[in-house]
């Protein structure tokens, strides 16, 4: 098999620009492209799983000058998750996807995948912007007041964020004259301390807006609430996961310092607490799920920050958390289309997702919490452990309320919609039972 990771980005991008030509068949073409992308992501994943890292330079220039893609086990997994769920989600959206929607959807996927697999910090920025612009448009696409408001909030914060990311990149470039993440990482020590920290702060703030970190996540509840179910689901597994992965790279590869670890840890803890507490009293389901997402992102951030200290458990924890959150939250967002859990499949999806999120074995969420605890224990972070437990109980409380509220059989969801939801939730079980994620995390990391 010829491995060209660039196809993961190129195919959706090109398809996105072709689609407007074939208006009528746009959705079908997009579906085919996403399916191909999914297959390709799976292929790359298993290639990386068995053969190790892949580097690909584009247009013949070698790093540090040229642009290059770097796929290690982590990015392969992220790319797999994004494309896999993107496909399932697209099937769920089905007829609602016209050619415009499909185009934006493809752009968002391309952008998210790009963030994950790029090895160039400016490219990362570009992909962030592609994802963000596509997401704004997707959110606004519902065209009611709430959707527009959500889109505007996202847009304002996203624009500020992009400015900050760009400033951060500019600061790094001004010192090191390179944009390659590898190169930056190798020479980070030679940077002027103040500029180094300023650039980290800028990048963290900028990417943090996309990664739903507190207090940069003002847009999150409104955007999720305003967006249609399919889009909310997309937002929960594609841009946010890519962004948190970008932060992980920032911390693990570029700025592996104790100060950054500490700041990320406590920001993560606060995000977790605020997210879960805010979700506790929320009456609107989508908004509740959005706050819950914030909390989960906080937990993933904690895991990643611990991973900079202790690769052994924390990295596994973060991967499990990402998988669990992607599978569960997106299926819950899809489920929020109907007020009640209608039919067996949606009951299954809803319950499995909730159980995985609150950490019941043998679902993926449990392993996330388990390894996170082990990692936190290794660092003797008593307060963090207790706060995570507290947040977990709060989370359980509102999810229990949610489960109770959605008892009932009324609602009309198509069979395909329910099947896709169930399929999504099944991945929480699948990844929980298979040793895949565990083994992935033990593969050598990028730059390490």
């Amino acid at each position: 098999m010829v491995i060209h990771p660039v196809l993961l980005i190129a195919i959706p991008l090109i398809t996105a620009f072709i689609i407007p030509i074939f208006k009528k068949y746009g959705a079908a073409i997009a579906g085919g492209a996403i399916a191909f992308n999914m297959g390709y992501a799976i292929g790359i994943f298993f290639h990386v799983y068995s053969n190790g890292k892949i580097y690909e330079t584009i247009a013949g220039f070698n790093p540090p000058i040229g642009i290059f893609l770097a796929i290690d086990s982590l990015s392969a997994l992220l790319a797999l998750i994004i494309n896999l769920f993107a496909f399932i989600n697209f099937v769920a959206i089905g007829k609602e996807a016209n050619y415009k929607f499909s185009m934006l959807y493809l752009l968002a996927i391309a952008g998210s995948t790009g963030i994950v697999i790029t090895g160039d910090i400016f490219n990362m920025f570009v992909f962030f912007e592609i994802t963000a612009v596509a997401s704004y448009a997707l959110i606004a696409g519902k065209k009611d007041k709430k959707a527009l408001e959500g889109a505007i909030k996202y847009m304002v914060l996203g624009s500020i964020a992009s400015s900050f990311i760009l400033i951060g990149i500019a600061l790094i470039y001004s010192q090191l004259k390179t944009l390659n993440i590898y190169d930056i990482a190798a020479r980070i020590a030679s940077m002027d301390a103040k500029i180094k920290w300023a650039s980290f702060a800028m990048l963290l703030t900028g990417i943090g807006v996309e990664a739903e970190i507190f207090p940069l996540n003002g847009w999150v509840p409104s955007a999720y609430q305003g967006a249609s179910e399919g889009v909310a689901s997309l937002l929960s597994f594609a841009p946010s996961k890519a962004a948190i992965y970008a932060i992980a790279r920032l911390m693990l590869v570029i700025f592996p310092f104790h100060a950054t670890y500490e700041i990320a840890l406590w920001v993560g803890v606060i995000t977790l607490l605020i997210g879960e507490l805010a979700a506790f009293m929320q009456e609107d389901v989508k908004r509740m799920l959005a706050y819950s997402s914030i909390g989960q992102m906080g937990m993933i951030l904690i895991a990643f920050s611990l991973a900079s200290q202790d690769l052994k458990y924390a990295l596994i924890a973060s991967l499990f958390l990402i998988v669990s959150h992607a599978a569960s939250k997106s299926s819950l967002f899809l489920l929020s289309k109907s007020e009640k859990m209608h039919g067996m499949a949606s009951k299954y999806a809803g319950i499995v997702s909730v159980l995985s999120l609150i950490g019941m074995p043998p679902l993926a969420g449990f392993w996330g919490k388990w390894y996170l605890m082990l990692a936190a224990m290794d660092e003797k972070l008593w307060l963090v452990i207790i706060l995570i437990f507290f947040a977990g109980i709060v989370e359980t409380a509102y999810f229990a309320r949610y489960l109770h509220r959605s008892i009932g059989n009324d609602g009309e969801l198509s069979l395909r919609y329910k099947a896709t939801m169930a399929a999504m939730a099944s991945f929480a079980i699948l990844f929980g039972l298979l040793p895949l994620v565990y083994k992935i995390a033990s593969l050598p990391l990028w730059g390490g």
Partner: protein, 607 residues
């Protein structure tokens, strides 16, 4: 053999989900007999020898990067003996209980799977894993009730328990660098204390020790009765299994004692057990909902087990295990019988029931027997267990716990009679009610058997638990087939039974000597007034313990639930305050972004 059983349980769980209810019940019944085969296999291989299989003989499951160790131990064998027989009985019962198959049997089999897993776990991770599987499979059964309080309280308390156990386990893992249960805990001081205390707290939630019982009344009173029978009879025992495992098998007692030598932490467990026995009994007396009454009675009876573990002498532990065994059976009978009553009449309120004894004599007899066991009348094995506990308390001169236990035992008579009188005796209110279906009756009487066997031979029960106790280094107490002897006194069950039978002779002679005429219940003495005038007042079961209620209620009113609600409301307030951060103004959010930037910069550059 174990792996086959595990696999078959899962497969059967999936199959039963999709077949018709009767077929599902039959499959579930036969499949749930399988784990018992494993027990028999073990008994035939090793008898009552104390065998702890080495790590090389464990069954291993590889899951998500970890290895789970499973094997039967003497302790798990004993607990399996008390919990696992409940499953086939419940399946048998459910054969006619459910009108349609909506997943009950599948979930029950999953619960069985998890139960079996918990009992067989030989490392803490698999213990926790199966424990949580048990939590969610039973949660899904609770979820079927569609009752908000039940669903929320069960899930929240389960997760709280899980976190408490997890917290303890990771401390033990970190300090011990091993999760195997066969290793001796090499931990002491504050950390060891926190770990063990936390684990015990976690298991205490499922063991329904006050004040962590708040979920039980909601759950017990709203779910399907066959499930509640398992919940009260089986699941609570798993909580005590965990407590026993960590407290005695792993010598957690010593860790607790070594932390502060002059404080007996164990005693605290006994005190909580005594308090739950006492208060739950008093609350049970005042209930009108049959299921709530049984729920509180369950809490009270389980409190005795906690007392036994808390006292911690061989005598007390023997008593506690005996009590656990009895409770598994008699409480299952009571809940199943309550289910029969509801199945036939559709009513739960005791004040609306009455006079069922002549309509359903077999149900009544089984219930009566269970109540004898519950009230520790010496013609069932229920007495021996309580007697051992009383002896243990006196032996240790626990002058606070002993009277509370005894008075709770007396209180049990009160609510027992409330069930008997309110439901089965008194005015006949249901003319068209029939006896329960045969499968249900059969289920009840299967459960009665052990209560009879072990009153005649209490020594056999002590023999059964002997390996479990000796594996934990606890000597078993002196006994023969019929009699148990302690340093304080002796209890000879056969003397009681034979004397009772002999004493029955004069009673029987008196009974048979002269004829009597059976009249309808309506034909009775009402101070000379015709029955019609009194019809509304015939049933005295309405607000039965009114005088007692008047006296006790002010003291029982606040209750643990009240405080948990306060905590819940407190979190609500905090949550409301936190939500205000999201003002809805994008300008504010922009300010947050800038502030965050400045904060991070400030932190990194100046600190």
């Amino acid at each position: 053999m174990l792996d086959i059983i595990f696999a078959e349980l899962v497969v059967a769980a999936i199959i039963t989900f999709f077949v018709r209810e009767k077929l599902a019940a039959i499959i579930a019944f036969f499949i749930s007999l399988l784990p018992l085969l494993a027990l028999l296999d073990w008994a035939s291989n090793y008898g009552f020898a104390i065998i702890n299989l080495g790590i090389e003989n464990h069954m291993k499951i590889y899951l998500a990067g970890v290895t789970l160790h499973l094997a039967i131990t003497p302790l798990s064998w004993f607990f399996a003996l008390m919990i696992l027989p409940l499953f086939p009985v419940i399946m048998l019962y459910s054969y006619s209980f459910f009108k349609e198959n909506d997943g009950f049997f599948a979930l029950m089999l999953l619960s069985l799977f998890a139960t079996f897993g918990i009992l067989l776990s030989r490392d803490m991770l698999s213990l926790f894993l199966f424990w949580e599987m048990m939590s969610w499979s039973s949660f899904l059964l609770v979820y079927r009730s569609k009752d908000k309080n039940a669903i929320m309280s069960y899930l929240i308390f389960s997760v709280f328990a899980a976190f408490a156990i997890l917290f303890g386990i990771i401390i033990l893992w970190h300090e011990n660098s091993s999760l195997l249960l066969s290793d001796i805990l090499n931990i002491s001081g504050k950390l060891g204390f926190v770990a063990i205390a936390s684990i015990i707290t976690g298991f205490a939630v499922k063991a329904v020790i006050m004040p962590l019982h708040a979920w039980a009344p909601f759950v017990y009173s709203k779910c399907d009765e066959p499930f509640v029978a398992f919940l009260s009879g089986g699941l609570s025992k798993l909580g005590y299994y965990g407590i026993f495992l960590f407290l005695f098998s792993l010598k957690g007692v010593d860790i607790l004692q070594n932390y502060m030598t002059n404080v007996s932490w164990n005693y605290l467990l006994a005190v909580f057990g005594a308090l739950s026995a006492f208060f739950a009994t008093l609350i049970a007396i005042l209930q009108d909902d049959l299921r709530k009454l049984l729920a509180y009675s369950s809490i009270g009876q389980l409190g005795y087990i906690a007392i036994g573990f808390g006292i911690g002498t061989p005598l007390a532990i023997t008593g506690a295990l005996f009590q656990a065994f009895n409770h598994a059976f008699f409480k299952a009978i009571l809940f199943l019988a309550a289910g029969i009553v509801a199945y036939r009449t559709g009513k739960w309120k005791i004040s609306e029931l009455g006079g069922l004894a002549y309509k359903m004599p077999f149900t009544f007899m089984a219930t009566l027997f269970a109540i004898f066991a519950l009230a520790a009348i010496p013609i069932t094995s229920g007495f021996a267990s309580k007697w051992l506990l009383y002896e243990a308390a006196i032996q240790q001169k626990y002058v606070f716990i002993a009277p509370i236990m005894l008075i709770a035992g007396v209180g049990a008579f009160l609510y027992s009679f409330r069930i008997l009188y309110g439901v089965f005796l008194g005015e006949n209110r249901h003319d068209s009610v029939e006896e329960a279906p045969k499968s249900m009756i059969a289920a009840l009487f299967i459960l009665v058997l052990p209560l009879i066997i072990f009153v005649v031979f209490p020594g056999y029960m002590l023999d059964l638990m002997k390996p479990a106790l000796q594996a934990a280094g606890i000597e078993s107490i002196a006994h023969t087939k019929f009699a148990i002897e302690t340093s304080l006194a002796k209890y000879n069950s056969i003397a009681v039974l034979i004397t009772l039978m002999v004493a029955m002779i004069p009673a029987f002679v008196i009974y048979k000597a002269r004829k009597h005429r059976v009249t309808s219940f309506e034909d009775n003495y009402l101070a000379g007034e015709p029955y019609e005038l009194h019809k509304p007042a015939m049933h005295a079961a309405n607000n039965y313990y009114k005088p007692l209620k008047k006296v006790l209620l002010p003291y029982l009113e606040p209750g643990a639930t009240y405080y948990f609600e306060k905590i819940y409301n407190g979190i609500k307030c905090v949550s409301n305050a936190v939500r205000r951060i999201y003002t809805g103004y994008v300008q504010d959010y922009a300010i947050y972004v800038v502030l965050f930037l400045l904060f991070v910069m400030g932190w990194l550059i100046w600190i």
